[in-house]
């Protein structure tokens, strides 16, 4: 095959099948030099994993680093390392290898997996967004995870802090199952603060990574990771994301794969609303929360029960809640409602205890819960 010919989609038939092929695939996938795209091209031009490996060993492809890695490593050591991490290799055709990966322009030649075997009958939806979201974004992601879990849908996301973690937690807290696609090695808990979360995900769901054990988390690996999140899902929900973010990349992969893209809007002035608003303008479906998402996915919303209007709001509580257009100082709320400052504060604290209002930096604002319970207010 000439070098400049376009690389075919999918992967060569029987890649990684047969004697020696599985080991060759494992070794190939453990090389840190080649990108997923160059590995994909290499297996196509070589025709099989073992021939691709031979080409690297002979200097026909790959780098000196790859060759020194191959001379210093043996398959047995790699396999025992995988066992120690509780991980396994999933080659095309394995139950753990999601068939939808093959629809990507550069499908992974194999992935590493921990936890439950991926069930291809699962309905999976991705929830992605910023690593530095607003409080509202966090609340929305938590609620989306919970709503999807209660509707029996598996939540897919990355392993980052912020929206990713909130979506996982929302789903897990509601007894749901999630899949996390990592941008680091399958055994590397990055970020460290999510270590507990990864354990919870693995207990009921699955961790997926394209990278061999020990690979550190590095920013250049995250865009490639995002294509797997999209491929694993039937739809992608974008909660918050800056203009040129990984979130945007995930959404673009979803568009390439022909998936449904949903976006939760934010204020036009907010940098974190740039990706969702841009997607909506490009034709993504705008959702205001979990109820909208479930409706669009034609799912019965078990989550709607959570949304009942809180009973017993007093007249003052209603007034205060209605006056909180933006994030406001207690004195400003008092001025807007005509309620004395001391009483306003009491009302605000009562509302905060009910989860309808939250204090941020000395000001108070409505929570997502309050927004959803006060249509039109």
């Amino acid at each position: 095959m000439p070098a400049d010919a376009p690389v075919p989609a999918g992967l060569p038939e029987g890649l990684g099948r047969g004697p020696g092929e599985t080991d060759a695939l494992l070794l190939l996938r453990c090389l840190l030099g080649p990108t997923p795209r160059s590995l994909h091209a290499l297996v196509w031009s070589a025709g099989s994993a073992s021939r691709a490996l031979a080409r690297i060993r002979s200097g026909g492809a790959g780098s000196d680093n790859d060759r020194s890695f191959l001379t210093n490593t043996d398959v047995i050591a790699i396999r025992s390392g995988l066992d120690r991490a509780g991980a396994r290799l999933a080659a095309p055709g394995d139950p753990d290898y999601c068939p939808a990966f093959l629809r990507l322009a550069d499908p992974p030649i194999a992935v590493f997996v921990r936890g439950r075997v991926l069930d291809h009958g699962d309905d999976r939806v991705a929830v992605v967004g910023s690593r530095r979201p607003t409080n509202t974004g966090m609340e929305v992601a938590l609620d989306l995870g919970r709503g999807l879990a209660l509707a029996g849908v598996v939540t897919v996301s990355g392993g980052a802090v912020g929206i990713d973690a909130a979506a996982h937690r929302g789903a897990l807290d509601a007894g749901g199952v999630t899949v996390a696609v990592l941008g680091s090695g399958i055994d590397v808990a990055h970020p460290a603060r999510n270590r507990d979360l990864f354990q919870r995900i693995e207990a009921s769901g699955t961790l997926v990574s394209e990278y061999p054990p020990g690979t550190p988390a590095e920013p250049f690996r995250f865009p490639a990771r995002n294509r797997l999140i999209a491929a694993l899902s039937r739809g992608v929900v974008v909660v918050e994301g800056a203009a040129k973010s990984g979130t945007r990349i995930t959404a673009e992969h979803a568009v390439d794969l022909g998936l449904d893209v949903f976006a939760v809007p934010g204020p036009v002035t907010s940098p974190l609303a740039e990706t969702p608003l841009g997607l909506i303008r490009d034709g993504a479906t705008m959702i205001r929360g979990t109820a909208d998402l479930l409706e669009d996915l034609r799912l019965e919303g078990a989550a709607s029960g959570e949304r009942a209007l809180p009973r017993g709001l007093s007249a003052d509580e209603g007034k205060v809640l209605a006056s909180l257009a933006t994030s406001m100082l207690p004195s400003a709320v008092a001025a807007a409602t005509g309620i004395p400052v001391a009483d306003t504060l009491t009302v605000l604290i009562a509302l905060e205890i009910r989860g309808l209002v939250r204090g941020v930096g000395g000001r108070f604002e409505r929570t997502f819960k309050a927004a959803a319970t006060q249509p039109g207010a």
């Binding site: 530095r132 929302g170 970020p191 100082l329 504060l345 009491t346 204090g359 941020v360 930096g361």
Partner: protein, 512 residues
Amino acid sequence: MYGRVIGVTVLGVGGHPVTVEAFVGRGLPSLTVTGLPGAAVQDARDRIRPAVEHAELEWPLRRVVVNLAPGNLRKEGAGLDLPIAVSVLVATRQVPPKAAAGHVFYGEVSLKGEVLPTPGVISVAIAAARRGLRGVIVPVANAVEAAQVAGLAVTGVASIQEVVGFLRGTWRPPEIGTLVSQRVAAGSADLSEVRGQDEARRALEVAAAGGHNLLMVGSPGAGKTMLARRLPTILPDLTREEALEATQLHSVAELLAGRGLLRERPFRAPHHSVSTAGLLGGGSTVLRPGEASLAHRGVLFLDELTEFRRDAIEALRQPLEDGRIVVTRAGGSVSFPARFTLVAAANPCPCGFSGDPQRSCRCRPDQVDRYRQKLSGPLLDRIDLRLTIPRLTKDELLGASAGESSAVIRDRVIEARDRQRRRYSALGITCNAHLPGPIARREARLCPDAERLLGRAVDHMALTGRGFDRVIKVARTVADLAGADRVSEHHVAEALSYRTAFEQDQGLARAG
């Protein structure tokens, strides 16, 4: 030939009377000092002879032995120069022994025979009065300070000649009355100058009324320092007893600058590079009070709390608990009073803009975590009031009406403090902040509504046991400010609102 006078050595802030005996006998001319003299006292041996000769008095060209009693007490400071000189003059009968008896002599002398300003004079006067002595003879620069102690004849002298003249009855000291300091025109700072920030102004009032320590978290430029500086203006005036305590500390630290008695509550704002010794007191030979003691009966303001040395911050726990600091060195240990209101300020995150509606925070989540970790810990447990100071928008600043003046607020604070003093007279404490937790729960007297709100807060706001006690104490103070016997729902709600951005974020932080 023998002479005896009384001097005082100041150790820490306490004055200790010292009997100074001089014996002039046969032998080569020399001066020996016995009785545990410290380094500064040893120096006096070479200083005193030229001083006496310069005053046109005679130094005995014989063997002079000076003994400082009690012999087991370490003697520090140059204040013993004057009594040593006078004891020799008494021994040589250049001064009548009877005239010198009953006075305390204190002051450093120069080679020219001048009596120089000396730290610790007020402690000397207090020790003299306690001993029942008739009068003190001190440097004229410090006479006003000594005159603050009642029932003591104070003589301010500028030279050894004047001392001798006074004792011989040939020289009369200037009237002290003319020197007594008036109240320094109260500084221009007033709480009414702080625009907007109604919630923070109110929190300062609560802190002042209940003696609560205060943490302010807010973006740079939000006004944390401006607010903290105005806390002393709403505290009750120093009582005479408190003023004497504070003046002693400032006197030994040589910070009185000619004033007699401290009238304003001290405000100390050490830079965050301060050492542990600088904050708590110490020194190698003479133990000096630290910033925490200089803030005694006033306000200690720690701006950029996270930048302070960890050990210095940890060491503040002792004064916050006991109201005093014990400094121990090879030479012995000294206790400095340090009962202050702590006001700490910090940014909400390393870049300072977390939670700011107009600027976005540039910190990574783990940086914020680490930063907040620094702010937690044992010191924070002793801060009842935590407050977020929002940076105000232009509209909020322009729309703000002028607030109440410090004087108006101080009247309410004084009333609230009186209520607490009456209520706790049997407990031996003066304000809500010092209530031990279990007693606070009993003494607070919550209405059923207040109990209910507090119960819901425990469930929904993740209040810890300590946090619960803090809310009760603060709610009690809010009720005292309102003149209420029982704590109502409103009071608890206000107390619950005094939380930092960190605590507000905690629910979500756990989620992500």
